[in-house]
């Protein structure tokens, strides 16, 4: 057999191997799929659970009322109103509540109660088999970025970066309207004013990311975000400037900023001040410095993060991003993914946590 024939024979096998992450260690990121879970219709059920910080029943009521106004039905998990330390229950309780919702075929989406801290404490207790077969929308941000990263890395299934149940009010605002539209399947198109710090350009790519601290906390784990050829979105809150700089240096030194299609920057709010020798660079300067050597578009001021509004973003899906000096536009690429969904999801082996893999 000559080499050419041999390679042709090997072709399909090689392709298959690439889509199956190895166990632990440096797993191959999923570069396929991107097919969204089914959008919601009136009468569909949304589960609400707290995988991280705790919220009171009362705090969750606003989201319940609003979801009903939108035509959805809600189911509160047992973690709503529970508390263990600062968490919405013990690790086991939070994992079980989330697991039950992942496995429940009647739920079309899972809205998280709040962020805070705790998602990564339960990550390796979760079984994603049912979710992979029947993907549903996972909705949240901040600490929930742990799940965004994991689902993106391991399954390539889109998720929603958005305000959470604990943040809902009595009057529907822009953030909530954007979530409603997204859940009903309205394609995303946002246009916003930006700083003049932008590096203009036009690009198309799959959007990934979320909270910088959590993207950072996933580094070198099975949930590590794959950013190659992607539009990376980052936001953060209540960090020192030097910490932001240090986290970005980590992404840079591990090559996460090398091959982006674009960098999209949301809110960096409530930045803390150093006691001494104040870090005088602005957040924009700190961020821009890390990507100065590359030539992809860089865009600031996306209205998302720990701020008003926090517009819903479908992560894991393709967008056109056009960045000008004082303005930018993000437009979902329609029909980017053919129907029916690529039949690859089932073939993906769930990577084990390295800590459990003896």
């Amino acid at each position: 057999m000559d080499r050419r024939n041999f390679l042709q024979k090997m072709g399909p096998i090689g392709a298959l191997v690439l889509t199956v992450p190895a166990i632990a260690g440096n797993t191959e990121p999923v570069r396929v799929s991107g097919h969204p879970p089914p959008y919601l219709r009136e009468g569909d059920y949304i589960g609400i659970t707290c995988p991280a910080g705790a919220i009171d029943q009362r705090d969750a009521r606003y989201s319940e009322v609003m979801m009903e106004r939108w035509g959805f039905k809600t189911r509160f998990g047992r973690t709503i109103g529970r508390r263990w330390q600062q968490f919405g229950g013990t690790d086991e309780e939070r994992a079980a509540d989330f697991q039950q919702m992942l496995d429940d075929p009647n739920l079309k989406a899972i809205l998280f109660g709040r962020g805070g801290y705790g998602s990564m404490r339960i990550m390796d207790k979760l079984n994603w088999d049912a979710f992979k077969k029947n993907p549903k929308w996972l909705i949240g941000y901040s600490d929930i970025t742990a799940f965004h990263c994991h689902v993106s890395r391991c399954f390539g299934i889109p998720t929603i970066h958005s305000r959470m149940a604990g943040g809902f009010g009595s009057q529907e605002d822009l953030s909530e309207t954007s979530l409603k539209n997204t859940l009903y399947g309205k394609p995303i198109q946002y246009q916003w004013e930006t700083t003049t710090f932008n590096r203009p350009g036009k690009t198309q790519g799959i959007l990934v990311g979320g909270n910088l601290s959590l993207i950072y906390a996933m580094q070198a784990s099975v949930s590590e975000l794959d950013t190659d050829g992607k539009i990376l979105f980052i936001e953060d809150v209540s960090e020192y400037k030097y910490t932001v700089d240090r986290m970005l240096m980590n992404l840079k030194r591990s090559g996460k900023l090398d091959n982006l299609k674009a960098l999209l920057v949301g809110g960096f709010t409530s930045i803390k001040k150093e006691d001494i020798a104040y870090f005088t660079m602005s957040i924009e300067e700190i961020i821009y410095e890390k990507v100065m050597e590359f030539d992809y578009p860089v865009c600031f001021n996306f209205p998302g993060g720990h701020q008003q509004p926090n517009l819903a973003l479908k992560l894991g899906m393709a967008y056109d991003l056009e960045v000008k000096v004082g303005m930018a536009q993000l437009t979902e690429v329609r029909n980017a993914f053919p129907n029916p969904p690529l039949p690859l999801i089932d073939s993906i082996v769930m990577p084990q946590s390295p800590s459990l893999n003896l």
């Binding site: 330390q85 801290y117 990564m120 906390a217 996933m218 580094q219 784990s221 020798a277 800590s355």
Partner: protein
């Protein structure tokens, strides 16, 4: 791994003093310089000492050059970083190690300097000293028992440290190269080529001013990255000035650490004198040490 040990110092040798990260006013280094001189060393003060560029002790290029000059200068036998803060990782990938490879020398510091301690171990297979910096000399008004360990370490004495018994210690006898340092910096190095291979090592950790939840998150990050499971031992130093959120985390720092590693069998020693406080001894990172944890406390001894 074969680790190179730089030449130990003798009287008359020169120690270079630099600020590779955060800004430090020159007057805070006076006591340190005088003490090093009293010990019989000459001190060469780098340009970055007392220099300020906003938060940093100079632009990246200036801090890099100062360190590079000291690395390349044959008359300098050791380099003491005056202060941490933040900034070492901004320059570490631009250092030219050629001269250092031929003529390794002791690099001393902790906190942000943990970047260098680990980079030297992992990439240059060279031992360095995790130990007190200029601020410690200043606070002590010269030297105390902890600061004196730096003199002993530099002079080539084999180090031996003993701690009081601790309720949460996990007993056992083990050995391995000493690696570690500041937890925030270890988390920061993860995913980069400077992160140490922690398998079969004695990992030591300390930190300052962090939120309890963030310490939990960083430990979980190390664990999920597989960096804790194959340790030969764990040494816990001080975690001073821990902060907590309005709704408390509900566990103290030692409980957080214990919870994270209780599933493993390696010995764990709490209360080790490595910290941002006075209790901060010189540790020769990269060199093999023995750790023995018993009901009478823990003993860390340099050597196979």
């Amino acid at each position: 791994m074969n680790i190179k040990t730089p030449r130990y110092l003798k009287k008359g040798d020169t120690i270079g003093l630099i600020c590779p990260a955060g800004f430090m006013p020159a007057e805070y280094t006076t006591v340190c310089i005088e003490t090093l001189q009293k010990w019989g060393f000459n001190v060469k003060v780098g340009k970055t000492v007392g220099q300020q560029s906003h938060y940093f002790s100079g632009e990246d290029a200036e801090r890099l050059q100062d360190l590079q000059d000291m690395l390349d200068d044959h008359s300098v036998s050791a380099i003491l970083c005056a202060r941490g803060g933040y900034g070492c990782s901004r320059i570490v990938d631009n250092i030219n190690w050629n001269a250092f490879r031929k003529n390794p020398k002791w690099l001393i510091g902790f906190s942000d300097v943990t970047v260098f301690n680990n980079h030297l171990y992992q990439k240059l297979k060279t031992a360095s000293i995790h130990g007190p910096m200029a601020g410690a000399f200043d606070k002590a008004g010269g030297e105390d028992a902890y600061i004196l360990t730096l003199k002993q370490a530099l002079s080539g004495r084999k180090m031996r440290y003993k701690t009081e018994p601790h309720d949460m210690n996990k007993f056992g006898k083990t050995s391995g190269p000493l690696v570690g340092g500041n937890l925030s910096i270890l988390a920061h190095l993860i995913g980069s080529h400077s992160f140490p291979d922690t398998k079969n090592t004695l990992l030591f950790l300390e930190d300052v001013g962090e939120y309890l939840y963030n310490i939990d998150r960083m430990l979980l990050q190390l664990d999920r990255a597989g960096k804790l499971q194959h340790l030969s031992g764990l040494i816990i130093g001080g975690f001073s000035d821990c902060k907590d959120t309005a709704v408390g985390f509900g566990k103290n720092i030692n409980e957080i650490i214990q919870y994270r590693v209780h599933k493993y069998n390696f010995p764990v020693a709490f209360g080790f004198p490595v910290s941002h406080e006075k209790e901060n001894v010189a540790l020769k990172t990269g060199l093999v040490h023995r750790l023995q944890v018993t009901k009478s406390g823990a003993v860390l001894t340099e050597g196979e």
